[in-house]
Amino acid sequence: MPGLLTVYHPSGHDESSALVQFSSDSNTPIVYSLHHGLKSPIAPRLSISWSRGNSLRVSVFRSPETTETVLDEVEVGGKVVELKLSGEYVDSEINDAARWRRIAYGSVSPFAHLQNKKNAMAALSELRHSAPYDVDWSKYVLEYSKEINSLLGSRGSSPTSLIEDPKTVLENVEEPSSLKAAWELLEIFYADKQSQAWIPEQLVDWSAVMIVKVLPLFFSKTCNWRRGGEHLSVYDSSLQAVEDEPAYWQAISSALAVGWLDIVVKLLRLHGSYQLNQLGNRETENGLVEAVAVLISKMPRMRAHLPDGKLGECYYNKSDFIKAWEKWRAQITKLDCSAFWLQCSHNHTRENLKLLLQIMLGNTGTLSSATFHWVELYIAHFLYISPFTSGLESMHALAQKCMQLKPTSSPHKLMRLIIGILGENTEVVLAECSRSFGSWMIAHATELLTAGSIQAEILLKEERHNLGGVSIEESHRLVYAQVLSSHALTWQIAPIYLISCVKHGVGLLEILLYKQPVYHSQVLLKNIEICRLYDLDSVSANAMKIAGVHHWKHGRNGAGVFWLQQAGDEVRLNRIAQKLFDFVGKSISDESFEQWEGLIELLGSESRTAAGLEFLHKYRDFKKSLQQVQDGILTDAARKAGEALILLMKNPSTPQRFWLPLLYDSNSNPKGRRIEEVLNHFCDLQLKLLNWQGRPLLNVSQTNLLLNKLQELSVARLRPDFVEVGMPAGALSSVRVALATNLGRAILEE
């Protein structure tokens, strides 16, 4: 029935080789509205650029004329708006972004774990000059594979029969994705080295789930019959014989062909001859049905164990299995030739039971008619004709044969993957993984492909010129990391993949980190943490600088200085300190003095930048006591102020190093300037200090010191390159008069 073999396309874009699926369905333009919040009229100036993910960054500028006229402070020159375009990253099957993120996050820890193991083993083998332990490694890979597999959804129970409720033959299990099916395939063939001998049986298990769930159309008959769950119950209730329905027998033979033994047995026991009122006259018929059912349930299977509820007898050992297999077939043949068939009056039953026996005996024709898709036939071959098939070559040949018998027009992606695996063609497997299952799959599957296969390892790890010097493995990881970085919720796991890329990983990681909006403190902290994990000190320092400057510009001076200090940004801290010097000599309000003082406090805690700050600290003390003087005439405070002034003046650690860049252009005497500024500052109030009411605050030597400094300054003033600061014209002379008066009084006092 080739007409039925339409390929199931989950998304309809199966053939596209695009990295990220792009839907071209919508031809109608979508209108987005911008909420820029600017008052009209808005100048027609826009700048549009890509932001992260599918966000557009639109900068709306006001025209210069309007900015001049509008003096409202809130109305700035324009506004930057981010516009999120709809359409999410859609992996070929994971349409639900949340589910995709769960998989992305869940796979991080197994992946990182495996990378750690790999690095540790590499280090160990280097130490011992020997190859890594293959056995250990394949164990780790299997662990990894199992963890990822469990992440992709539970396998559910493959179709199980429920004894309690005869109407439900197939349980509704969680729909496994073809992504999971693909992963399981890779696991069977590449990761699970221990069970290589049982690949046929594993494929039987694999197909049991996948045929029903992923490829529902293939198994059309069973599906029909499944849908008719009520169908069966109708037969039951109306006491109509199920065995008269061809669909019943078709379902049984189809199920038997793919090895769903439990279902077959359960269905057989729905046979009309089991009805209590029928037992008397259909004894032989019932006996035959039961005999077939028993034979089916005793089928020898070459595998370690069967899950609960599955039928068959397991044989671990090949020779044991062959014995049991021969015996079983002999029993079937014996039953086939039994004389009881002649006594069976029910035609349908007789013929169809015989057909079942033929299936079990491996009659190619019967098998072929009981199956619809080549995979089903393939599975039937493993079960009933050649259970010992081993080696990819013979399996591939068998697959080719089955495909010839049951050709398909356009193979499903899982089928293409199987063919690739069987054909031992790593390139095809890679291409299939990447085009059908997306970047997540390929980034994680390479670990399976390389496990134990030297050719695959060479293919994947060889550096290639056409890929910019990176290996195929690395390029796939980079692509996946790029996909992760494009979303605000997943960018933080991208570093784990980037860091496993030897060539370009670190560079791209730095770019990724630089792109993060670090002025959000949480992003900054995450950024710093990532940098700490991967020893990217310079990147985190830059992030802290950006954050520091951002805070500073927005008036959060404390946070600004804090982050600049964390970043060790001497240049900007010095610049801030220089700004503080601008206050020296200016009369400032209480409020801004508090700010100024607070900043000195903030900067002062760091000794590295404090070179010029010593002066500022002393100046601050002086200024403080001066303010106290201002508040009320307190002799104590005044004395303190005087002492602070002398300290300032005496201090040889005038911040020449600090002042030099400031005065570089003018090349004037830094000392002179400082004194001048200080003195200038004292002009009004300070004169009082110098010439204190009551008794002089400064003694003779102190006054002399100040006079000397004053003299130095007036000499400096004569030089042509001296830069005059804004001072009252008579400032110098009034200071001199005050000092002279004080000197006189001090002499008298002494």
């Binding site: 999120k84 639900d96 949340a98 769960r102 919720l489 902290l525 995450k526 700490r532 805070h551 959060r556």
Partner: protein
């Protein structure tokens, strides 16, 4: 140092970003509700949602009601006036503050009062804390303002307690008593405030941290109702420490970088500790056994996904 690992926990994956979550005070013996501040990055939608917690295995969250806000939530607190309806306070990164009153019967949102952005703080509100009885709320921000918001029947009233004009940025706050509260900020600093002594913090802790710890940021503070003299703080680099007001210069480091010896072994996490809380499940008699000199057991959660209970000297983690 003994570390045991707990096995019994459940993950409840959500499709949106969960910025914060709290238990709602139990409304009846059977219902347990969780308040979730959720952010959907695809639609840029922020909402406060109330979920019913079904304690099956695994537990199931069922959305009961939701309230949409305009900006992402930076801090979420829940309180209950004695025998009255609970109230939920949330602050946003845009700087607005919202107080919601869920209906105690069907937990739908009956009413909301709010203070718009740019009123309380310039920029984001980094943290808010509700008093136990829900009558007042303290909000702090990076702009260095400390605001007191009183929640009355007529609405919200606010008063600025302090404004450092950006010199100090606050990142955490916590009530200690009806008049006292603590705040935390950059450089692992803590401040103690008393409304009876206005004008600035009553006591400050800067600590003589080694280089590493001084660069930390306090994210969360807790104060035990029976030991108000001790302030528990958690912040960057897995730092968890207690600040005893009676010995204000000597922090008791429970985890993270030790003062003096950097990167000591006592750190369970090197990541941001987002929340610290005293272990409230401990019975009073057990608590009495711990001398008042020792810090009570502390629960923490951190950025790298560690949930742990730390006792002074040892810890238990999961």
């Amino acid at each position: 140092m003994a570390t045991e690992t707990l096995k019994q926990f459940h993950r409840l994956p959500q499709s949106t970003y969960v910025d914060a979550l709290r238990f709602l005070p139990p409304l009846s013996a059977f219902d347990r509700y969780v308040v979730v501040a959720s952010f959907n990055s695809d639609s840029d939608e922020t909402s406060i949602e109330i979920h019913a917690l079904n304690p099956s295995t695994p537990p199931i969250l069922t959305l009961q009601s939701s309230f949409t806000l305009s900006s992402r939530i930076s801090s979420l607190k829940v309180a209950q006036k004695s025998l009255q309806n609970p109230l939920i306070a949330a602050s946003t990164f845009a700087g607005s503050l919202h107080v919601l009153f869920p209906n105690p019967i069907d937990v739908s949102f009956e009413s909301e009062v709010s203070i718009p952005e740019k009123t309380l703080h310039l920029g984001p509100i980094t943290c808010l804390d509700l008093q136990e009885n829900g009558s007042a709320c303290v909000s702090v921000g990076e702009d260095g303002r400390v605001n007191l918001i009183s929640v009355g029947d007529s609405g919200l009233d606010y008063r600025r307690i302090f404004d450092s004009k950006g010199l100090v940025s606050y990142t955490a706050s916590r009530w200690a008593s009806p008049t006292e509260f603590a705040t935390g900020g950059l450089g692992n600093s803590l401040q103690w405030w008393d409304q009876r002594r206005p004008g600035g913090p009553v006591s400050q802790f800067k600590g003589n941290w080694s280089q590493g710890a001084a660069s930390g940021v306090v994210h969360s503070i807790d104060i035990h109702p029976s030991r108000k003299h001790t302030c528990l703080a958690g912040g960057s680099y897995g730092t968890v420490f207690a600040w005893d007001l009676r010995r204000p210069q000597q922090p008791i480091v429970l985890s993270g970088i030790d003062a003096g010896e950097p990167m000591s072994s006592s750190s369970i996490s090197e990541s941001e500790v987002w929340e610290v809380q005293y272990d409230t499940f401990m019975s009073a008699s057990n608590r009495a056994n711990i001398s008042s000199e020792r810090v009570l057991p502390v629960m923490i959660c951190s950025e790298d996904g560690i949930l742990a209970v730390i006792k002074q000297g040892c810890h238990l983690q999961s």
